[in-house]
């Protein structure tokens, strides 16, 4: 019974097959294209106005900075697709990262076990979030606001506020963070892998596609027989695991791990998600858009530094970019809805 349902679970907004399906698939691509074009626009502006922007070395830096953000943003996107939010992402990075760092310092020869520890903690925290939101029926912004404080508090209690110096971490972690494959930073490849794999999963595997369904029309999803509680829980769990992975990478990157690790990441992750065309009303969005959203943010950051612009212009430009992106996105959506109305 459920197998039959799975094969007809629609992708995103189209509940009518055929032309409507084609149209909306294309508009998803249209959105990604528009984010991509915005990224190109930003890159062009900066390469014209600042020296050193368009160099290979600089591109590597932009990609590197965007890589970690991309992974976290993909996690956030999973949750946003279900029409929910997760503002505890920063605290999950903190807790998972801190515990993984302490673990690594205590058992330096445990190798890949450290990664598993980080991912497992992220997964567990994500499950907690998901339980509160789905079965606990706590509105996601309230639930994750609460867990933001709770997870950060736990990090503090575990650490007694003391940092873990980078010298205590096993060498391979630090080296690995800086490693490159044919000149491309390893972390960048990892981020790309996450985007590709997750996107494919979301498009083709029924378990993941339900995320779109639940987000775009929760009521209809229930009528279809989808157990939205489980889907939401699943989305939060996957998100948590991804954030755990990102935490491990972040710790390798940063070296010295303080109790404040990851603070404020939720805002930037949400910004990348929103910039990437993922709708906060749920049910639509493409992870490649998120990738370009992260690239846009990273480029703006980098470009402003190269242009010797004072740092606070960054906030203003990022904020305005988000508003512009949302407006553009809404405009596109309205055009689609108009088309649907005409097609009858």
């Amino acid at each position: 019974m459920s197998a039959a349902l799975d094969s007809t679970v629609p992708n995103g907004r189209d509940f009518r097959m055929g032309l409507a399906a084609k149209v909306s698939r294309n508009t998803l691509r249209l959105r990604v294209v528009s984010v991509f074009l915005s990224f190109i626009a930003v890159a062009v502006v900066f390469s014209l106005t600042t020296p050193n922007f368009l160099t290979l070395q600089n591109m590597k830096i932009i990609a590197f900075n965007a890589a970690l953000l991309t992974i976290v943003a993909c996690a956030e996107a999973m949750v946003v697709l279900t029409r929910n939010l997760d503002v505890s992402v920063g605290s999950v990075i903190g807790l998972a990262g801190y515990v993984a760092a302490k673990f690594a310092a205590a058992f330096p020869s445990s190798g890949p076990l450290i990664v598993i520890v980080a991912v497992a903690i992220g997964l567990a925290l994500g499950l907690l979030n998901g339980l509160a939101v789905s079965y606990g029926r706590v509105p996601s912004i309230v639930a994750t606001l609460g867990t933001l404080s709770i997870f950060r508090g736990i990090t503090y209690i575990i650490g007694h506020g003391i940092e873990v110096p980078s010298g205590d971490l096993p060498k391979w972690m630090i080296r690995g963070a800086d490693a490159t494959v044919f000149g491309v930073p390893l972390i960048v490849l990892l981020a790309l892998a996450v985007v590709f794999v997750l996107n494919q999963l979301l498009r083709n595997v029924p378990l993941f596609r339900r995320v779109y369904a639940v987000g775009s029309n929760p009521a209809a999803a229930v009528f279809y027989g989808l157990r939205s509680n489980r889907v939401v829980l699943f989305a939060y769990a996957v998100a948590g695991a991804l954030v755990g992975l990102a935490a491990f990478l972040y710790v390798s990157r940063v070296g010295t791990v303080t109790v404040n690790l990851g603070r404020d990441w939720e805002m930037i992750a949400l910004a990348a998600v929103v910039l990437g065309g993922v709708s906060t009303t749920g049910g639509s969005g493409n992870l490649f858009g998120v990738l370009f959203g992260a690239l846009i943010l990273s480029s703006i950051d980098n470009g402003l530094v190269l242009a010797h612009a004072p740092e606070f212009w960054r906030m203003f430009i990022q904020g305005t970019a988000i508003v512009a992106a949302i407006a553009l996105d809404a405009g596109i959506e309205r055009r689609i809805q108009k088309m649907f109305r005409h097609k009858g």
Binding site: I61, E163, T258
Partner: protein
């Protein structure tokens, strides 16, 4: 209705009992002095080490000691935690200020109530404290850092500075003096300061800033930072960018933070004073001030336990003045 109230009360009581043990550390006995120490923020090893030294001094002197502060480098949070401290009627407050002016109001109020205020590590506005325990005279610190720079790059080159914020008096003073020295003294003339950036004592921010600096100034030779957070972060950034040997990092850092960089040869020299002894000294100064044996007069002397005697300078500044320069050769001698 009754059930919900009962639930609410139960929840509060549970929360209360769990954390009742986390209450005030100090008992208020009538005779003993109570001294509170408020760092810029907790969670930084540097301040923890200062506190350890302070606790040692407190034990020797028989005073009650409480170490408390906010866990983030936030100006408003520090003001609030200072007001909190004042409400607990301490005898003396020892404080390291994030922003020298912003913390002045609660401290001035404290002084008006007869509480002695001693600043350490990062000074407050001069009218908001009785004494300032300066780890190194600003000039001494500036020279020490430039000497470390020389150890790394005797031929000179472009330098960039990282400070916590424009309102950190010690960092800004160091930068100002270093810039002057680079222009006026032959010994340091080969260095050319090109930029000053701010990283708020934040680890990740410091890495980002350092990477950006290396991008924006392709010929950059060195990054110097007075912040014990930023100097190791710069070293990490240099390693990450693959510029070991081309760019060096130096400045103030705890031995534990930069041990690995000195050992693998990527960096050559850092400098600090013993933070535990700075904390130790500040408690002795506080006690002497409370006893009335130390007056804010240039030339007054205070005996700080095992550290010996110190003299009061201009504006109530007491300089600890014992720098330590770490190199790969001597790093193993230091355990903190």
């Amino acid at each position: 209705m009754k059930k919900t109230i009962a639930l609410a009360v139960a929840l509060s009581l549970v929360a209360g009992s769990v954390f009742a043990s986390g209450g005030a550390e100090s008992s208020s006995s009538a005779k003993k002095y109570r001294i509170f120490m408020n760092p810029k923020f907790t969670g930084l090893s540097y301040f923890e080490v200062c506190a350890n030294g302070a606790k040692e001094a407190a034990k020797e002197l028989g005073v009650d000691f409480v170490y408390t502060g906010s866990e983030q480098a936030d100006v408003q949070l520090q003001v609030q935690s200072l007001e909190n401290i004042v409400s607990q009627k301490p005898d003396a407050i020892i404080v390291s200020a994030i922003d020298l002016n912003a913390v002045a109001p609660p401290l001035v109020k404290a002084m008006a109530k007869g509480i002695k205020v001693i600043s350490y590590d990062a000074d407050t506005a001069a009218n908001a404290r009785d004494f300032f325990c300066n780890q190194m005279s600003y000039e001494g610190a500036a020279r020490a850092m430039l000497d470390c720079a020389l150890l790394n790059a005797p031929e000179g080159g472009e330098l960039a500075f990282i400070a916590a914020s424009p309102t950190s008096p010690n960092h800004m003073a160091h930068i100002k003096i270093m810039t002057e020295l680079c222009q006026t003294e032959a010994k340091y003339k080969m260095f050319k300061p090109v930029s000053t950036q701010f990283a708020g004592d934040d680890e990740a921010k410091s890495i980002e800033v350092s990477i950006n600096l290396m991008q924006a100034y392709p010929n950059l030779r060195g990054i110097i930072s007075s912040s014990a957070v930023s100097a190791p972060a710069a070293a990490r950034a240099i390693q990450s960018a693959g510029k070991v040997g081309k760019v060096f990092a130096t400045g103030v850092a705890l031995p534990s933070s930069i041990r690995s960089y000195l050992k693998d040869g990527s960096q050559k020299a850092f400098f600090i004073w013993d933070p535990a002894m700075l904390g130790y000294m500040s408690v002795y100064v506080a006690k002497a001030s409370l006893d009335g044996t130390l007056k804010n007069v240039v030339g007054s002397k205070v005996k700080a336990g095992k550290l010996g005697e110190f003299t009061v300078g201009k504006d109530g500044e007491i300089v600890y003045g014992k720098p330590l320069i770490f190199t790969p050769q001597n790093i193993d001698e230091y355990k903190f």
